[in-house]
């Protein structure tokens, strides 16, 4: 699964297969990270706005 696991081989099969999986997981992970951080910022801005008023 990872290059540091003993059975890893640097061949096309491993690069395409594992690359596809990590590509998909990276998109999902980055997407969720973006949503969570942006929501925290939006919520804190809203709270600060409420305090100002």
């Amino acid at each position: 699964m990872f290059p540091f696991v003993f059975e890893w081989v640097w061949d096309l099969g491993h690069l395409v297969f594992m690359g596809g999986l990590w590509y998909a997981l990276t998109i999902v992970g980055l997407g969720m990270t973006y949503c969570i951080i942006k929501s925290a910022i939006d919520a804190s801005k809203e709270a600060a706005g409420d305090h100002d008023h």
Binding site: F17, M18, G20, A24, V28, G31, C35, S39, A43, A47
Partner: protein
């Protein structure tokens, strides 16, 4: 008592009636859980599987729920990539069904593995990159994560949860980038649906399942993806209409059903043409080259006759396709019910023959047909996902806005 949790502007049954329904489904669920524990504690010998049947009822159920749950990725594709706006009124329900189907599929695999805690992670950590099943495991698990991400905004839209500013913004922001998640889901679905077909198609020692290849992919790879995209929406429509019958309400407008049914109809029609071509090539070219004839696989046994091929392609393929592609067929309530039910049976039948009939056919000259009878723990664990699905749909329908048009279609008298 729970009225503060129910979406605004909609009516729900009294809480005791709801809890009564949950209890009935819960009893069936507990029966399945008991069977799971029995299998995990005593081992796979309590099942009807043997040396002939390494794949049996569970793998059929697994493939069937994955195909039927294909409505989630295909409606996501139509909504976010093709841009069919009307689909937004059914996509929440399709995602809910998808989550149920994929959780069920992984649960069934966890039972089939036998030792989920000590063995299940091996397929990820010690991945065999030449195995179709590894591709299935990767894409299935990753797609379940995507489906849960698609379901989360729906949960966050619950009246009480939405009052928390962070969750309110999270729901909004997830909707903003949902196209990215949906596209990832389509990518993963195409590969795991296809690989499930590929598992059967690459078995050159099983001439009933073996098919010719395009690069590394047998034709079954493409047929499985195509059939899931074609028949999955039938299951979504069937369950949405069933929910309408049970609740006694219209929940989705007719134009939404009409669009999805029409697209599903054309997908089934094109799929079934491809399936006929595949079957003809298999019967006329592939089988003779291996010393077989078509009837070797449909005779000399008590169950698998040529009727099963006629039922799969004709009754449950051509017929629903013709109903769904015609305006007259889609506008008749009876015909649309018939078409979606036949469609669901058709794709389940396809998965059945590709798993169970493949195992039943003698694979060496001196062998005979081997028929298989599941034991009650297998049946109980296969029914468990149905009870689980009923519970999830009941809770989602009661507390979450899974049908955006419900309020408009069922105005409450002041």
């Amino acid at each position: 008592m729970d009225s503060a949790l129910i979406p605004k502007g909609v009516k729900r049954c009294p809480l005791p009636q709801f809890l009564g329904g949950l209890a009935v489904a819960g009893v069936v669920l507990l029966w399945g859980v008991y069977a799971i524990l029995l299998i995990w504690i005593k081992g796979l010998h309590v099942t009807g599987m043997n040396d002939y049947y390494g794949f049996a009822l569970w793998i059929w159920a697994d493939l069937a729920v994955i195909a039927l749950g294909g409505g989630a990725f295909f409606t996501g594709f139509l909504r976010y990539i093709v841009g069919k706006d009307e689909i937004k009124n059914i996509i929440n329900f399709a995602v809910t069904i998808g989550v149920i189907c994929y959780i069920s599929a992984l649960l069934i695999l966890a039972i089939d593995v036998g030792q989920p805690l000590t063995r299940a992670w091996h397929i990820f950590w010690h991945a065999n990159v030449h195995s179709m099943l590894t591709e299935v495991a990767f894409c299935l698990s990753a797609y379940l994560v995507v489906l849960i991400i698609e379901y989360i905004p729906l949960v966050l839209e619950n009246r009480q949860i939405d009052k928390v500013p962070f969750f309110h913004h999270l729901s909004h922001n997830m909707h903003e980038v949902m196209a990215v998640f949906a596209a990832t889901g389509v990518f993963l679905s195409c590969f795991h649906q296809g690989s499930l077909g590929g598992v059967a198609g690459v078995m050159f020692g099983r001439p009933f399942a073996f098919r010719e290849h395009l690069f590394i992919w047998p034709w079954t790879f493409f047929l499985f993806t195509w059939s899931a995209a074609a028949y999955g929406p039938c299951f979504t429509i069937f369950l949405a209409k069933l929910t309408e019958k049970i609740t006694g309400k219209r929940l989705i407008k007719d134009n939404v059903y009409d669009l999805l049914a029409k697209i599903s109809g054309w997908m089934i029609l094109t799929y079934i043409i491809a399936k006929i071509a595949d079957t003809w090539y298999w019967a006329a070219v592939t089988l003779p080259s291996q010393g077989h004839t078509l009837m070797d696989f449909y005779s000399n046994n008590a169950f698998y006759g040529i009727w099963i091929l006629v039922a799969e392609i004709g009754v449950c393929g051509i017929l629903p396709a013709l109903i769904l592609v015609t305006k007259k067929g889609r506008s008749s309530s009876t015909l649309i019910w018939t078409a979606v039910i036949l469609g669901c049976i058709g794709v389940c039948l396809n998965r059945w023959v590709m798993i169970l009939q493949t195992m039943a056919v003698p694979s060496i000259p001196f062998d005979s047909w081997q028929l298989y009878m599941p034991t009650w723990p297998e049946v109980a664990t296969t029914i468990l996902p149905v009870a689980f699905g009923v519970i999830v749909v009941m809770i989602s329908y009661r507390y979450l806005p899974i049908f955006p048009q419900e309020q408009e279609l069922n105005p409450i008298e002041p």
